[in-house]
């Protein structure tokens, strides 16, 4: 026993009968390298027991230990005067004014969803909700960011259908409105879907609580659902690549969500926090009791002792190893103030839930686990949580991608056939078409606070009792990150910020989800580092610090990695709800103005994917300072009440953005007559995805003011047309041809694509 730990009367640790001996194979099976195992032995001063090995394996997995990403994450800016809680807690927290604080975070459930889409996605939502309400905040909105392969595959449709149902059923039942998200379909995600869920919670600033096991002698209580054998070693599993036989071997790891219990747990937890009877609370998420207990101990610099036979279990004969590593859902670890355990129990009883005393906070800095009074694990807590080795690897861009970037795209600049046909094909592509099929399965209006529902550039939730509102969006175009990671990450940031300013929100802070392949491969590590660098630079320019996030690596199937997908979840503040700007045109006769500059770029565009099945070229250039000016321009126009609508250009380019602005939610569409005078070939002009562009509409009387504000910020602005009656149709005239379609054609193309693709039978195999 090492003296340095200050352990004096250390309880001897007994090897349990029936535990397997520690062999190099067993260590490898636990995802630990030889070096890491040696390090564990040094920390322990002896060979770990089987139980201890399991604990280390979970805590030092990529998922909990951030081995390969921690050093990179340090590069992200994390502070600003409005940041109350930065990375490191269950969720980040920012000050949003009028005494309110916003907790928000995004989290991935990619691997579980690949195996069992419905439960994988559902439990993903459950986990992120718990991260929010354990901060003392009431969840008020969720968003979901999804990626799948092409919908032509039955398996992909099965995954997509299951994921959407899972997200919907869980959030709907708990009663949290969905206010947005994104989805993309591309062969780059075949076999390895991405399921990221983001949650926002509101609280009064003084209601904030953090997850630490403070107060020696305080009681640890397990609260909520019972512990079963499900999801054992999920954290380690999430840190491995999927292979052909993942389906089979990972079955017992499927966790089933119970949103009803979650709802009760949510109410009970907020009541517990308000009661003052507890000093800390944390979700038993990845790596279950192990990570919640050791992290809470680590944060407080204390130790914990827990008796496994006191943990309420669902099945007989569970070993300490299984109890410690189970990832059964809807469970919490609570630190009750000594003497107030009964208050905790009473609150839980009212909500028809269980609470059991399972241990206490100690002063010896040890993570000690007992089974019927005998110690079966005894580990210094700090090295367990913070001692995980972190790696900086060599990153090298693959030549394959350099070649893709250098692809000559000039032949694709010339339209094939009729422009209108091409336009409709693009508008009806699953990546551009309306995502209504998804969000009509999500309750978007429960809690009566949703001022902008999914379908706009950002979702907006008002803060009752104030004039304020919060806007949120998730964005990332993985193709662009794939082609040039640093640029792609900046674009994701720029798009998120544009989406916020379009509704009238000031971009305020960021949470992010780094979905990447295997970081041990140098070209993947390169993507990861470049993406982080791009994000960091944009965060600096936009003054949007990162307050938290999630890393999901090893997103590979049979050695093929997904597109690198650093999903940006960005939140913004609206000071006056009366000034929220809609995406859709509002009135016939209004002037349509384009802010920003059209470009000749088509690299990485949906156009290339649809017409030539190509993911190639250089992503559009992004100028962060210009984006910042653009953001300020739109915000000023909004503040001065000069614009009636605003919509940014993203996938599908200017033509599709204009179509979305005439269609709105389909109920009350307008027409538009547009003339584009640029000296640019029609393909890049109409369908290119050049950055830094926003379409606004205004009353003719405001046009002068609109142009003046743009000029003040040095943002190019040009009148491109006007809003007409729907009966007059949709026309865009360029120097070399035009796009022209009736509103009913636009509407059926845009709104019916996903649902008609999804009415095809979706067999599970």
């Amino acid at each position: 026993m090492s003296k340095a730990d200050g352990a004096i009367t250390e309880v001897p640790v007994s090897a349990r009968a029936g535990d397997p001996p520690i062999t190099p194979e067993l260590v490898a099976d636990h995802g630990l390298s030889e070096d890491e195992y040696e390090r564990i032995q040094r920390i322990m001063g002896r060979e770990p027991t089987f139980t201890e090995l399991g604990v280390f394996s979970a805590m030092w997995s990529e998922h909990c230990g951030y081995k390969n990403s921690k050093r990179l994450l340090k590069l992200l800016p994390i502070s600003a005067p409005w940041v109350i809680q930065g990375p490191g807690e269950n969720a980040g927290v920012i000050d949003v004014g009028d005494g309110y604080a916003l907790a928000f975070k995004i989290e991935s459930h990619n691997h579980p969803s690949a195996v069992e889409p419905y439960q994988g996605a559902a439990t993903g939502v459950g986990g992120i909700l718990r991260d929010i309400f354990t901060m003392g905040a009431r969840p008020v909105a969720v968003l979901d960011s999804l990626r799948f392969g092409d919908l032509t595959s039955g398996r992909v449709r099965y995954l997509f259908d299951g994921v959407v149902r899972g997200i919907g059923d869980y959030g709907n039942c708990v009663g949290i409105p969905n206010i947005g998200g994104e989805v993309a379909f591309d062969r780059g995600y075949e076999g390895n879907p991405i399921v990221n869920a983001m949650c926002l919670g509101l609280m009064k600033k003084e209601e904030l609580i953090t997850a630490s096991a403070s107060g020696v002698g305080n009681t640890l209580m397990a609260v909520g659902a019972r512990t079963g054998r499900d999801g054992i070693h999920g954290a380690t599993f999430a840190s491995e690549e999927l292979s052909e036989d993942s389906d089979e071997s990972s079955r017992p790891q499927v966790q089933v969500g119970d949103p009803f219990t979650e709802k009760l747990l949510l109410e009970a937890s907020l009541e517990l926090i308000a009661s003052g009877a507890i000093t800390g609370i944390q979700d038993m998420g990845a790596a279950g009791i192990t990570s919640s207990a050791s992290e809470m101990a680590g944060r407080a610099g204390n130790g914990v002792e827990m008796e496994m036979s006191s943990v309420p279990v669902r099945e007989k004969g569970m070993t300490p190893y299984e109890i410690l590593l189970s990832e059964s859902q809807e469970r919490m670890l609570v630190v009750a103030e000594k003497g107030r355990e009964n208050e905790v129990r009473e609150i839980l009883e009212k909500w028809e839930l269980e609470a059991a005393e399972i241990g206490c906070v100690t002063d010896d800095g040890r993570f000690r686990i007992l089974e019927d009074g005998l110690a079966v694990a005894n580990i210094p807590a700090l090295p367990l949580t913070d001692g995980c080795p972190t790696y900086e690897r060599e990153g090298l861009e693959s030549s394959e991608i350099q070649n893709l970037r250098n692809t000559d795209l000039s032949e694709h600049l010339i339209p094939e056939g009729d422009l209108t046909k091409t336009f409709l094909k693009l508008l009806g592509s699953p990546n551009v078409a309306s995502k209504r099929w998804i969000y009509h399965q999500y309750d978007t209006t429960v809690r009566t606070a949703t001022a902008v529902r999914p379908g706009g550039d950002s979702g907006v939730i008002r803060i009752r009792g104030t004039t304020r509102a919060i806007a949120a969006t998730t964005d990332c175009n993985g193709r662009l990150v794939y082609l040039e990671p640093r640029t792609g990450a900046k674009i994701a940031m720029a798009e998120a910020a544009r989406n916020l300013v379009c509704v009238g929100a000031v971009p305020t802070a960021v949470t992010n989800n780094l979905n990447f392949g295997n970081p041990l491969k140098s070209h993947i590590y390169y993507q990861l580092r470049e993406a982080v660098l791009g994000m960091a630079e944009a965060c600096d320019t936009f003054e949007t610090p990162v307050t938290g996030g999630n890393v999901s690596l090893y997103n590979e199937t049979d050695g093929r990695a997904i597109y690198p997908t650093p999903v940006i979840g960005m939140v913004g503040v609206i000071e006056d709800v009366e000034k929220i700007t809609p995406q859709a045109f509002q009135r016939t006769g209004d002037i349509i103005v384009l802010l920003g500059t059209n470009t000749n770029e088509i690299g990485g565009s949906e156009y290339l994917y649809i017409t030539a099945s190509l993911v190639a070229g250089t992503p559009p250039a992004v100028n962060l300072d210009a984006e910042r000016s653009l953001q300020q321009t739109v915000l000023e126009m909004n503040y001065e009440l000069k614009i009636r609508s605003a919509h940014d250009c993203s996938e599908g380019g200017l033509a599709c953005a204009l179509a979305e602005a005439v269609l709105g939610d389909g109920d009350n569409p307008f027409g538009a007559s547009i003339t584009l005078d640029d000296q640019i070939r029609p393909v890049p002009l109409l369908f290119g995805e050049g950055q830094g562009r926003i379409i606004v509409s205004c009353d003719p009387l405001s046009l002068e003011a609109v142009l003046r504000i743009a000029k003040k910020h040095d943002v190019p602005a040009i009148q491109i047309g006007y809003v007409t009656e729907a009966s007059e149709g949709f026309q865009i005239t360029t120097r070399e041809g035009m796009v022209s379609a009736s509103l009913s054609k636009l509407s059926s193309t845009y709104f019916d694509t996903l649902s008609s693709l999804m009415t095809v039978t979706t067999a599970s195999s």
Binding site: E116, F260, E315, S764
Partner: protein, 90 residues
């Protein structure tokens, strides 16, 4: 050819949480039925099928279960033939 009536029972795999079963269990308890245990809820699917033999009918339904009617990751299934009627000769 005969006409078969089949019954397919699809139930959650042992070990997996069955929230619905749990809720029903609790409800029965609070209504006073307290000697009850182990409530699990599944689906039952009835269908009719024409096939040359009972074995062929069952085989075919097994294939349907694997492909569509059950989720192999979370559910087990059982098939039984509840009736067999000789099809009328044409």
């Amino acid at each position: 050819m005969s006409q078969f009536q089949l019954e397919i029972r699809v139930k959650p795999r042992p070990g997996l949480l069955d929230p619905q079963g749990k809720a029903i269990h609790n409800a029965l308890h609070s209504l006073g039925w307290d000697s009850i245990e182990d409530v699990r809820v599944g689906k039952v699917i009835y269908l009719e099928l024409e096939a040359d033999s009972r074995e062929i009918a069952v085989d075919r339904v097994h294939a349907m279960c694997r492909k569509l009617l059950s989720n192999p990751v979370t559910e087990d299934f059982e098939v039984s033939v509840s009736e067999e009627v000789e099809a009328e000769p044409l």
